[in-house]
């Protein structure tokens, strides 16, 4: 117990005694944000873009992201592609096998609301957020690697706002209501928890 007894005296030596606690928060968040290991799996054509993003030209590794071939070692699930009803329980199982803290990026139109399979399809799950909580939606069909990387950076920034002992903050709901597209079903119903990244909002594509 020596260290606990000695701690207040130790903290007082820093200017501003709160420094140690905010520092732990910062260090933990930085560690989580800069080593997001994603699960090695893809469902459809989005997986091709995911592979391109992982390869040398775009290089996921510079964000600290490398793929792991087992859910036990992953922090991030990138749902890349069309999720069919038959595959959905398997993806849910993979998500359940990941250790906390875990994050989900829904990549491409299919994962947001069925995409091209929204109409006249009996076999596609219209939105992966019906089975797993999604942090970031990346729109596109499929999204370019820049869009996916932008989504990952957005997720990193989301992780940096986390605080110890607080529930995870998922701020997407209000933003989505504001961005609802006329004529389309409301995204809030389909995307209860995530922020949406659209290709037009990506700085590198605008310039």
């Amino acid at each position: 117990m020596g260290i606990v007894d000695g701690l207040p005296a130790h903290i007082e030596k820093f200017p501003g005694g709160g420094l140690l606690m905010t520092g732990v928060n910062y260090i933990l968040n930085e560690a989580k944000a800069s080593s997001m290991w994603y699960m090695l799996f893809g469902l459809a054509c989005c997986a091709i873009e995911l592979m391109a993003t992982g390869a040398s030209r775009y290089d996921f590794d510079r964000l600290g992201m490398i793929f792991r071939a087992t859910p036990r070692q992953t922090d991030l699930m990138i749902v890349a592609g069309t999720l069919t009803l038959k595959m959905a329980p398997r993806v849910k199982l993979l998500y359940d096998q990941m250790p906390e803290p875990k994050y989900v990026i829904a990549m491409g139109g299919c994962t947001i609301h069925g995409g091209p399979f929204y109409h006249d399809s009996y076999s596609v799950l219209k939105g992966v957020d019906k089975i797993i909580p999604v942090d970031i939606h990346v729109a596109g069909c499929p999204p370019r690697p820049e869009a996916l990387m932008n989504g990952c950076v957005a997720l990193q920034n989301l992780i940096r706002t986390e605080r110890l002992g607080h529930d995870r903050d998922r701020p997407g709901l209000r933003q989505l209501t504001a961005r609802q597209i006329p004529g389309e079903p409301p995204l809030t119903r389909l995307a209860p928890g995530g922020a949406l990244i659209r290709p037009g909002e990506i700085p590198i594509l605008r310039s």
């Binding site: 009803l85 038959k86 929204y118 109409h119 006249d120 399809s121 009996y122 076999s123 219209k126």
Partner: protein
């Protein structure tokens, strides 16, 4: 030496009566056979040395509600280089056929797919389960009158 379609047709008609093995009006390389003869014609296609159909290309169905379900299978001879189709007009209410999975191994999964999506029951199939749809699915999605609550109609 690849045989032309009339030669294959005439070779089959030497063994099976020509009144019931008729040409298909929709496909120029296809013969319509009755349900009861399908298995025997297929056996003949494989075993006959002149025809030598050693490869089953595919098996599928076309749905014509309210009564007809057309089962189609195409065969190819890798050795000779010719091909032919067999069509069977099935009763849409209770479609059933004998399995070919002991003659061509790939008929196993082909027939599972046809069973899954069209509801044709194959007798003597070793393992007739759904292939594409989830195990607990009900109904046969490629039927024209198939309805599912998950389907959102495309606006006109």
């Amino acid at each position: 030496m690849a045989l032309k379609f009339p030669e294959i047709r005439d070779r089959i008609r030497q063994v099976f009566p020509s009144q019931i093995v008729v040409e298909d009006l929709e496909n120029s390389d296809c013969l319509v056979v009755p349900e009861g003869l399908y298995r025997r014609v297929a056996e003949f296609l494989k075993s006959d040395e002149e025809l030598c159909f050693d490869y089953l290309e595919f098996q599928t169905c076309t749905d014509h509600p309210p009564e007809l379900l057309d089962f189609v299978a195409y065969f190819r001879s890798i050795e000779k280089g010719h091909r032919i189709g067999l069509k069977v007009k099935l009763n849409r209410q209770h479609p059933a056929l004998p399995s070919l999975s002991d003659l061509w191994a790939n008929a196993d999964w082909n027939e599972r797919e046809v069973f899954d999506l069209f509801g044709v029951v194959f007798h003597d199939h070793p393992d007739l389960r759904r292939l594409m749809m989830p195990e607990d699915w009900s109904g046969h999605p490629l039927r024209k009158d198939y309805l599912h609550p998950n389907v959102v109609k495309r606006p006109d």
